[in-house]
Symmetry: C2
Subunit: 188 residues, 2 copies
């Protein structure tokens, strides 16, 4: 089974090393790894052409994959990386197994309250509005309900756990735990 | 043709009014509007059950739609609302027409530089890394390349224009411009 590795690792300085490590773990677990760095983007492109070629290649690789593990660790904001979220939605529409993990344990509601530095409006027990009056989603989920819902309604695994603060983008422990459970589910 | 209206309006205090206005505009343009507020979520649910029911209903409504206009105005961060991005990816996998707009004119690269309050690392003309060494995407796009790429590679319309600062979440002018072009494309 081909397993697509989605996540914001692609933005890290050591992106290729880290993705290669994840591929090796996926292979050891018994899946064929697929990642955004797999060949398919023509040489010599730049700017818009390069971006469109990466987009096309990513979509093609996802279509060729049987399942996905998405790194949904919040990235530069309160939610997961937008590219990863797009890819998760894409795989959900294909109705193939989707699984996820996050290196942050705090839920979406708490993180959104934190984003507004606590300057929120209490509207019920544990329920808040943002200072601008917009709703703060609080369903006990890890991110927007389309993300958690997309995974959970497909009986996917979604593990969220704090790692050391300096290691949020690179720690692979939660990924490993998720991968073990995914392997038990699909190959066990 | 059924047109799904995706966007973070659902979080606004006047969400139902604003979505009703968008539905009316969509109807006037010649499409049948579909929105996340359309019936399908059972009464009497709360918490996780409610969230999963909304997720299931949203996915069903998107599957039943022929095309999408997504409000990709940045929401609580540098990228579009995570739920909207999920829905866009979902529609792209169905290979149906996707269109988008944003009430913010500045591009993704500039917004990301602004997120770090300019404390970024120059690495080439107009190219920067974040202070933590992560890549700042700069392809002249409005958001992550999977979002712009998903739309543009399907010949979709994606219009980004500044509106008055106090009106970013509610102004419908850019939506109207986008809708006119979408109608000309599909119904003209």
């Amino acid at each position: 089974m081909k397993l697509f590795i989605a996540g914001p690792e692609v933005f890290l300085p050591n992106a290729r090393d880290l993705v290669a490590q994840k591929c090796e773990l996926v292979r050891a677990a018994g899946f064929a790894p697929v990642s955004p760095f797999d060949p398919g983007v023509p040489d010599g492109l730049s700017g818009l052409e390069l971006a469109l070629a990466i987009s096309a290649n990513d979509e093609r690789l996802i279509r060729e994959s049987d399942l996905m593990i998405a790194n949904l660790t919040p990235f530069r904001g309160v939610s997961a990386d937008a590219g990863t979220v797009f890819e998760l939605g894409f795989m959900c529409a294909l109705e193939r197994p989707v699984h996820g993990y996050s290196n942050i344990g705090a839920g979406f509601g708490q993180r959104t309250v934190d984003l507004f530095k606590g300057q929120v409006v209490l509207k019920g027990e544990g329920m808040y509005d943002a200072p601008d009056g917009t709703l703060i989603e609080e369903f006990g989920m890890a991110d927007n309900l389309m993300i958690d819902g997309g995974i959970l309604r497909r009986n996917g695994i979604f593990i969220c756990r704090d790692v050391a603060p300096g290691d949020v983008m690179t720690n692979l422990d939660v990924f490993k735990t998720c991968l073990d459970k995914v392997a038990a589910l699909h190959l066990g």
